[in-house]
Symmetry: C2
DNA sequence: GTCTATATTACGATAGAC
DNA sequence: GTCTATCGTAATATAGAC
């Protein structure tokens, strides 16, 4: 782990972010010191400040990058016309995207309160934007009559909570494969809101 | 807040727990110092150690009490014979119990990683016990044919995640009353698993 | 039972040498 | 770009006076 002197700006930068991601996810932002991040990277604590102005920015960058990628990924998906298909697509997308990034997801949900006020507002806005993606699907499906949903906002929160919960128990190589899980949740989600 | 000297063992004890509960929920276990808890109670930091051997025990006590009360409360409920009714009862119970204790719930979900290994095992066992309560309902309903559920374990995790998610957005006095929310979730939960 | 005082350790961040 | 060294602050926990 320990290294002697040398210049590695192009390598160290990403490694700082990776180390922070992993340590924040495992122990929590408040419990992880800059010294520990530095030790994981293999540099001294002072060297980290070549890559981030402070610890708070490190946290914000991780959460912001995650949320931006989440939104961009969803918007890049081909959109099928039937709201029932859109709901299935969202379900599979959400499970797949989140299961591939357990650390990012964990941080995005657990460390909101450790953001500065301004940073919190920015991340919250991105979360709201993501929630309206599925909310809009519900509204469209209510209008067209394929969904029997009284409150699209509540339905959105319920479905997202249910899907995000997969990350708390699913492990690759366990009893169920990821496609198995996707199919089970597609079934439950569709039935919970179908007319 | 600050007080002069005096003996208040019967009052201070609960106040220490209350202060820790509120502060841990708002800022996170790792971000809250014993000094801040003491300040909230109105004593000096050293005085806290009359009521807890250390900070870790304070966290464990809060989580353990919460989980014990959760299990005892559910088991004290009258049990109706039909699994469909049991599912509705569980849904209403879970939402009601959790919405009344937002701080305890928040800590129970967010601070697992700050428990010592031994304490983590104890809390985990209590969580498993709670999860099997609804899992057993599903198994019974599958046998009797009222549920169409392929995997009762997955269905349990899905339903619990969905219900616990209510705490992230529901606020008393908002657009919806708690009975409104209960009804909406009862509907979704029942339909997601019914034959 | 609570206080003051303190031992010991660690924190985030910065300065200046190389 | 990274190092060593350090500033100023705050952490958990304990000791002994009242």
């Amino acid at each position: 782990m320990a290294r002697t002197q040398g210049s590695h700006s192009d390598i160290t930068g990403p490694r700082v972010r990776e180390a922070a991601l992993s340590l924040f996810a495992r122990h929590g932002y408040a419990a992880v010191s800059m010294r520990k991040i530095a030790a994981e990277v293999g540099v001294q604590a002072g060297a980290l400040y070549n890559y981030t102005p402070d610890k708070q920015s490190l946290l914000f960058d991780l959460m912001n990058t995650h949320m931006q990628e989440l939104l961009a990924s969803w918007k890049a998906q081909p959109k099928r016309p039937d709201p029932l298909d859109q709901l299935e697509d969202f379900t599979r997308f959400h499970i797949r995207f989140h299961s591939k990034r357990p650390d990012e997801v964990f941080i995005a949900y657990m460390e909101l309160r450790n953001l500065s006020e301004e940073n919190y507002r920015k991340i919250s806005a991105l979360r709201d934007l993501y929630e309206t993606q599925i909310e809009d699907v519900f509204r469209e499906g209510i209008r067209s009559g394929v969904f029997d949903v009284v409150d699209p906002k509540v339905a959105s929160m319920a479905v997202i909570a249910m899907l995000t919960g997969v990350n708390t128990w699913f492990r690759e190589g366990g009893r169920l494969s990821l496609p198995d899980v996707e199919n089970l949740y597609c079934d439950m989600v569709r039935r919970s809101v179908s007319a």
